[in-house]
Homo-oligomer: 163 residues x 2
């Protein structure tokens, strides 16, 4: 793949960054603004050059730059559960602290959620206070699994032992 010039590389960086951060590829006008260019034709030229070298692909729709090697992410979005209010279902609004997002390849199950870890009870397994644990919802546990147990209205991570 032919090398990009410095200018082309920084434009591609900007596009990639926008794509990852805001989820949207910028318009030519936005690129022009960011680099304080006066003419939109300049942006066209750069995009054509970058495309000719194979780093991006475009259709003629708006905001339609595709970045090679940065396919549409297949992300899983899940709720983060902080403190658990007594008597409420686990996923009740009151318990939610926010949402996070990870690549689908990292989670095998469809039903996942995340727990904010409190305390050091699992620090032996590398799970520390303040960590976020991604949990799979399932209806059985095997000996040695780390599970979330609801004790006194608080979710606690424990290692499961059949006894």
């Amino acid at each position: 793949m032919e090398e990009l010039t410095l200018r082309q590389a920084s434009i591609l960086d900007f596009i990639r960054d926008r794509k990852l951060r805001a989820g949207v590829t910028p318009t030519l006008e936005e690129i022009r603004g960011h680099f304080r260019l006066k003419a939109i034709g300049t942006v066209q030229d750069h995009l054509h050059a970058i495309e000719a070298k194979g780093y991006i692909k475009r259709s003629r729709k708006s905001r339609s730059i595709e970045i090679a090697g940065l396919e549409a992410r297949d992300l899983v979005d899940m709720p983060v559960i902080g403190r658990i209010a007594a008597g409420k279902p686990l996923l009740a609004e009151e318990n939610l602290e926010g949402r996070i997002c990870v690549d689908r390849s990292l989670v095998r199950s469809a039903k996942v959620f995340a727990l904010r870890v409190k305390g050091e009870s699992m620090s032996g397994a590398g799970i520390n206070d303040g960590d976020i644990a991604i949990m799979k919802e399932q209806h059985y546990a095997e000996d040695g699994d780390i599970v979330a147990a609801l004790i006194d209205g608080e979710a606690t991570l424990k290692r499961f032992r059949k006894d």
Copy 2:
């Protein structure tokens, strides 16, 4: 917040799904196509209704639907290292298996990469064959840390013991 009708909810779902999956909010035309509507005015009506109920916000630019409670994700994109070729730098093209993406709140460091775990040597700590370990690049390790060690050209996860 006033409830959405079934139809409105499924349109919002479609928009949210597109936003997460493709990174871009669909155009009215794309929504029209997906729901096999004939008139774009129908989509306008639905969007106005959904906006009036506070679930989305729009500006008059293209693809500019903002979904309430789904702020722009702050994602970190990192390379996944599979097998390590001898004599090559760790992040050399040959070693890369792909890239993954996780929420920035899950990683504290800027310099991160991911390793595909081989073997069961760390299964005691819940790290199993085929798992992906997200690693922080740092220049020291403390007693008890899990570190990646390069042994015979293979990266191996080990618990670090000062001795």
